[in-house]
Symmetry: D2
Subunit: 358 residues, 4 copies
């Protein structure tokens, strides 16, 4: 008998179900004696031994369904070693559940925080396989995460819709795209949506440069400007602050989000009306795009292959078009950033996009 | 020679171009000696005699294009009779432009405010034909305005996307839909998106009833609730305030919008996490949906017919599936509200939707 | 105890699930003692007593799901009275199942053929309520059927996509839209997609007129023409044949469908390349559009209301925006056609669309 | 002065305009003294010196517009050296136009056939830069062509829609996807759409294996099967024929396309109803997906860079995420096929997909 535990952790995104379907179809293609334990709402289900027994039928028809049939929740890594209010050590509880159920392995789908915990469990002796789930595409060790392209599609659709209004009214429009630490979604959606200015966490902006770019467009007879802003976009001056200073400054701010701060600065200095749109959680929702369905199906099938070969301790990723296994110890705790001098940034600049950095 | 002035006024929406294409194709189907004067950015173009001469070619290929090729702007009706800072009386200026160009008529596309001004120009002796443009569907005298169904489609898409996240996380989600005075878009998108609670300006809500509905769902094992809220949703207690009292109260508020106020109340009383999504301007943007393209094409063609027959002073609308002409004097200044005891509300309630009113 | 049988019959379409959800949510909103018998694959399930007991849970989350959870099949009305190969009289078998299960009523969702059988069952003494399901919108007694607007959206999307290719290549493109007897989908998708020529079953075409329209466009410098053709489009000469003559002629034809015949004629006479696209079954598939979700939810809730009031023998429809009940005897066997001289046809012609009838 | 000729050749596809926009924005970002000569309808425009002078304005706002603003046409490579009916040698004519206009280079956007001609022109001494345009993704030297992902999205959407009908009716559905020689679009859309069977030109099928797969599903209680078939799918027995024998056999066939042949075989042997859907030209049409917009913008900007550096004779492609230049001589005449034993095929098989080959 092959006993597989499975859980999805962190913010939900598209193709979680598709990836799990890939894993389950994959193992059942070679063996019949498989039991699937679906832990509910992320690591919480593993901690409190809250699970459902699932059959291959449960994974049929979910290729195109958004969200996760297991539910998910956010559990900050830094709390994993902190005992619960009822005194339970969470890591020990997870190990206990794993061993009590006599699991052969645990399949974990998640992003950066999830991978830190998964690696911890591996260090504690559990057989872990992970799949790179995040719209942010910021996981180290894989060229691409599933959820990313679907999020780009939705953010681009938002910019497209704003475009028709922008051409009709003479205004500056800011679209705030998800991404606190990395700007991949903003970068791709910005290019795809024809944004005039793109502001990323990795490239601190100078408001003077942003204002110049808007004025230059106005002079060229273009009566509107569209700015794609990542949630974590930061000004050059703020980027120079220490973490502590920045935190203190942020605590005083009354803006709902960074777009509002930038909007205020622009409005003051250009005298143009500024409008803000925040697609927010919609970027995580709905049916995965075909790209993500193919990617997640491939990753899931490859994970099944590792399980059948009893090779554990890896994240399954994609590199140069090929599925690869990456040791969890190498993945955990690292982020994949947009490089300010990378080719794609240079190419974007050649098409006239300003990143507010010079 | 037939000289037609044309302008689009107020917030942009889908199918403005489609409607103008209908008018222009319509008049050219019967006459060749037509001149089209396209006034730029709404009434402003008429006031300051800022226009472009357009040919039928300019209206080719714009059926599916969002926004308006003429540009638009908001000009509050109450300022129309107030002289400009340069001393120009705006109404006189518009009449002057009209007569100077020797126009036979003026085609005006707009919503409620636009119609008040259009009616004023009619009273001043201009030949005016209007077309009912607004996503709000709140114009009196027509069953349907163009833009509405497209906006419903986008708002519904937002709720659909939120749904997949809602089923994965245990939370309350609020989607704030456009509509300050009327709730048509919220009502339709709410039903179409399967919202559990719908809050409209026309049906003041009792927060106790809203909280009860959420708790009832939780008890029935449904771990999430989706609430569609119109921008102008109002509580029963606020609805009892005088206009002045309400204004004073609003002035003190620090919420970016009504959804944030409702979110705070719910969070306090249910201890559930609440998330807010505001599709905002995207609801006005992008290509019109097929329904709006057919409606606006029909209305445009019918407007052309009135122009050719020299019948002026009407809004072209649709009643019971038939195109009708409605005297502008009857339309101006009236709004079409959702009736709290109408059939559609009763039917929605039968499917378990709460409107927070009992 | 309230015992409700339910079945979906004929070709599937969008919003069948949404409509059933409306019925079930509606009855459960007022009573708890309800049993739902879901007959499988249309009348077949009723004939052979093949059903599933369903709870309100089964209808949760299906608002946006295409197809029908009950399955469906086509059962020609003319065979209903013909005993099966195993000697079973189908009508008697259906009555037997109904009475054996002690049903209070039968809810039937279907189109024209389905309604004939439903009316027959009513005449045989069963309590029947029907809902107007068909993409064709050809049911007498209701302004609108659910499925129609979704089908229009898909057919329009097809024309939109063809448009970009058409403007790049100099060709004639034919899009064949569903509709053997009536042209509603073709008419609406044709207008919405900006088709240059629309050919409907209700308006027999003269190929000379069609060729003239193409040549006229070429002379005006427009290098492409898009033709929306209903499956049942017919030439003037064929329309004059008797049913028998036409059948004999059709039997000899080797064209896969009518679009190929028209393409051949045009290619011969204009020397232009002609391309054909047939969206086919996709027009019935996928998630219902928001319009259909609202319509079907309203109709379903209204059907629930009739059931609760024990008013049977009606189709629930919509007239002038209001939900109405129409006696089944009036509905059965009648079709709602596009009127060749109706307003919408006149308006379409004013925008330059040719219907091939001169 | 920098004089750039530009043309799009072969079947149109998504992101042609986006790619040209990238080139033009790129060159204008560094130089002002640029003239763009847009040749009309592919090589034909170059042969007959039919062109338009274009400014950077002409390329503004076309990022999202399908088709090509230059028009296109198919000109078989094998006819390039055959003099026209008016005696013109086409290759000499193209060289003549190029030199007469004093062009610095020629930017050619096209697929496989286009590249052969482009390479010929390079051999004749012209400065040529090409961009890989084709939905087929079959160009050698680049991991990805623009148009491909957009086509996959549309083909997947077709399969998605068919899915809801398939689950409602008990039938076999065949979706015929574009691809005469290579199966990339079918493979990706098949996986993304959850097809049960995928038939590609590169993996000849055995009808017995296909029938077995259908029967196995029926036995497992799955009442429908979806088959994604490439236009160029071929049976094992046909694959053994010589080119001449195959041609002779094809000449006798009366099927409109390969899907019909396969459908007939299946219908005969499984006694199941089979339905065929052919999305056809829609796969080339409409707005490019965000993935293609980013890819084509990057490729266009990189092409601009080569032009500015006067490096000619290359196709600009993408390899492992980086933009690369590939000598035209290496690209021309080679196709990039799906490898029958590649990882993606193995992964797809693990999820239960049959390729009809075992």
């Amino acid at each position: 008998m092959l006993r597989i535990g499975m859980l999805t952790s962190g913010g939900d995104c598209q193709a979680l179900n598709a990836a799990m379907r890939g894993v389950v179809k994959g193992v059942f293609s070679k063996r019949d004696d498989v039991e699937i334990y679906g832990f509910q709402e992320g690591y919480k289900g593993l901690i409190y031994s809250n699970f459902k027994m699932l059959t291959s039928r449960d994974f049929s028809g979910i290729l195109t369904v958004g969200g996760t049939i297991l539910g998910t929740s956010r559990q900050p890594f830094k709390l994993m070693r902190v005992p619960d209010k009822d005194g339970i050590d969470k890591v020990e509880a997870m190990k206990h559940t794993y061993h009590k159920l006599n699991l052969d392995c645990l399949v974990v789908l998640g992003g950066n925080g999830t991978h830190k915990t998964a690696n911890l469990l591996r260090e504690e002796g559990l057989n872990v396989i992970t799949l790179p789930k995040t719209i942010d595409n910021d996981l180290w060790g894989t060229d691409m995460t599933f959820g990313f392209q679907s999020a780009v599609d939705i953010a681009t659709d938002t910019i497209d819709r704003i475009h028709t209004t922008a051409t009709s009214h003479s205004r500056v429009f800011i679209v705030e795209v998800m991404g606190h630490k990395v700007g991949w979604v903003t970068l791709h959606a910005g290019i795809a949506g024809g944004a005039d200015i793109i502001l990323l966490p990795e490239i601190p902006y100078d408001i003077d440069v942003v204002v110049d770019a808007i004025n230059k467009r106005a002079k060229a007879g273009k009566n509107f400007t569209i700015i794609a802003v990542a949630e974590g976009a930061i000004s050059k001056s703020d980027a120079k602050l220490s973490k502590k200073e920045l935190k203190a400054k942020m605590a005083k701010k009354t803006y709902p989000s960074v777009a509002y701060e930038i909007a205020e600065k622009i409005q003051k200095r250009t005298n143009q009306e500024v409008r803000i749109t925040v697609p927010g959680h919609t970027q995580r929702g709905g049916s995965p795009c075909p790209y993500d369905r193919v990617l997640s199906t491939r990753l899931g099938a490859a994970a099944a292959n590792l399980i059948l070969k009893k090779e554990f301790g890896y994240m399954v990723g994609i590199k140069n078009g090929n599925i690869v296994k990456v040791p969890l110890g190498e993945v955990a705790g690292k982020l994949k950033y947009v490089e300010p001098d990378s080719d794609i940034i240079q190419e974007a600049k050649m098409t006239g996009i300003s990143f507010g950095d010079k």
